[in-house]
Amino acid sequence: MTSTDRYLDLVNSGVTQKIAKQLGLPRPARLRRAADRRPGAPLVDGPVLVLGDGPDADALAQLLSGTSPDRKGWDLDVRRHAAEGTRFAAVVLALSEVQHPGDLAAPLLALGPVLKTLAPGGRVVSVSRPARPDHAPALAAARQGVDGTVRSVAKELRAGSTANGVVVADDVPVTAPGVLGALRFLLSARSAYVDGQLLAVDSAAGSLPADWDRPLDGRVAVVTGAARGIGAAIAETLARDGATVVAVDVPAAGEALAAVANRVHGTALQLDVTAEDAGARLLEHALTRHGRLDVVVHNAGITRDKLLANMTPDRWEAVLAVNIAAQLRINEALLTSGDLTDAPRIVALASTSGIAGNRGQSNYAASKGGVIGMVQATAPLLAPFGGTANAVAPGFIETDMTARMPTLTRQVARRLSSLQQGGLPVDVAEAVAFLASPPAGGVVGQVLRVCGQNMVGR
């Protein structure tokens, strides 16, 4: 259950739409979401422009157009030049070969006019390489410049369009599974609320799915906190992508949990994740019932907000116990079991509070910051098995939790992002599903924000 954004409805229909336009009020758009699209709909609704020169750009263009024999399933109308009057659905900026800040001028200036006619819910995705201290200063400047310009484009876009980037490590080809997976995710309707993000692909690990619509076929996923809100959406999204889902929540949430499990044709496991044997029980359930365990989504989390000046030990400890200590203990049990060896995926829910901090959430931010550190340090432990650990940091998401905020605070919070609205639980779930998917094997120890480019934090 999510709260409804009345303002979003008003500015998108009838008389109130006109009034809002005349008054120059923020006019958040209805986002292009996978759930609203008919099955088998194309990845994007129109031609895709690939800007940039060089082998990488050519390779990406070839790949997107589906002309490469081993890259089925894309089949896009790819153009290399912006023709007057063409309404593009997406633009891919191939910037991996820039050497000097001056190299940015041509592709970015070419992008400019295209933005004016970009289709609603359009996508701009850059593919670049990371800047490192050991680079020549000009190279590093050019590469880091991509970061700034993409984030700025994201803030300029309207009508539910987004701009994001994929940052590919030097030793990883731009056609690696991780790049393709990220590119596809960012172009698709699945990334509706991901905006202004640069996602690093640090390894060539990962594999391409047989069916892009069901990348998790044959995989078994555990989702904690699955009874409602974001967790329920994650369970549903993973199941949609083909996973067999073990839905976990505290016994007290069992009724809603059972409903979720039945909806996704999975199994319900009533379990307090803070229990000493939680990891063992998760594993035992997954192995005996479903024969394997591939994906663990640490979604269970609680808030006990209080200014630190007024903080009580029980509030602090409860939040830390559920939000990070339980995850650490479960991960340890899973990693030492020797049962997670086939490209396992751990995805943990962080929060923009854990990145930027939030007044009254010193305990929560400690736990969520902890999640970020945890995935960064856990990822290397999984790497030998082709596994990854990553985090998703939601911004303002329309959930039961945010529905309890005071009305004005809630309305302001919604507009504090480039997309001028809150996200939906499914938006977070889509990001989780992407990170859990086989192609995302090259995304390691990252934090993917799903915040509509919230102004909070980085």
């Binding site: 016994p251 949430a253 009724e255 039945n262 044709h265």
Partner: protein, 450 residues
Amino acid sequence: MAPTTSGPHGPETPTTRRAVVVGGNRIPFARAGGAYARVSNLDMLTAALDGLVARFGLQDEVLGEVVAGAVLKHSRDFNMTREAVLGSPLSARTPAYDLQQACATGLEAVVSVANKIRLGQVESGVAGGVDSASDVPIAVSEGLRRTLLTLARAKTVPQRLKAAAALRPGDLKPATPRTDEPRTGLSMGEHQALTTAQWGITREAQDEIALTSHQRLAAAYDAGFFDDLVTPYRGLVRDQNLRADTSLEKLAKLKPAFGTRLDTPATMTAGNSTPLTDGASTVLLASDDWAQAHGLTPLAAVVDAETAAVDFVHGEDGLLMAPVFAVPRLLARQGLTLEDLDYVEIHEAFASTVLTTLAAWEDKEFCVTRLGLDDALGTVDRDRLNVHGSSLAAGHPFAATGGRIVATVATALHRRRAELLAAGEDRPVRALVSVCAAGGLGVAAILEAA
């Protein structure tokens, strides 16, 4: 497949094989007029099935059959269990039937499903039960009912007028269902008060049984024992009747509730008797093959069962004493004694039901003359008795109690067996389940850790 034997005539017929309890699910039991005051038997049974399907991933599964029942049942629920299946995520191709044996409905359903599995007639099944003391059927009075029936048969206006004229103002008063024994006019509590008096059971002993039940049920909840057995419903997370903080002092303050009109020592109170309760339970049973194919761990096998009945109408035995007769027969058939049981579950219809049952088994004269034994049956170790609490604490929605007990004790058996194996002790781990029922009925069953 089940092992088969070739008969001298006709095709091969299956011999028996094991039927195992794979797990269970129930909703927390609510006090009458409490959390489930506005939901129906069908609602509750469907909710319990929903949770079972979710726990074991049975969505769209075609099970062998679902067998359940309710003691207090609306006439519209003539096919209640089938309706519950149709309302659940199970495949609509799963057959079902209703069964009713008063408070033994749930256990008898377990036995029925287990027997079909053992005979190879089905591979899997759900046994369950539900009852609502809140949403009870209310009928029209006998007079109004007869008038309406006559009216329906009347063909002419004068006939109809004549039929309608037979109606008396008193006929408009509705008739609420009574659970009194039809042949004696005594309530179950009054019957048990008589048995209590007959066996000289004290108030203190009854209160102690009640206290232990609450303490053990609360401890089991706290230990997470019911995490895999109970799914919350309508905001209720634990059994509403559970009083973790009760004490002998509090129990001692309660006024006697039963037997006060019978001139018997008044020892039975609301504290040491089960309250009217709403709730539903289910148990998933299967063949070993089916369980394995579905990645499910057998918890316990349903080994054997025995039903007995007593003549309480003619004062021969107490209304709820039938299990006293069923159990020795069952043990004898299995070559077992009370000492061979790791768990003994005696349904706490009343604390004194448990105590009169134990007293009878400890009474040499009774055992010799009435049970035909050579000696007293023996003493049940209290540490093995109703280890995770029973009906006094959990409540007793009549038909749902059997399922509650079987799922609970099967889980306990499985864990105990694992503990013993871990300690290097490989021996059978068994439980006895005994449920008394209205009409002088009693069902007992033996389960063994799978």
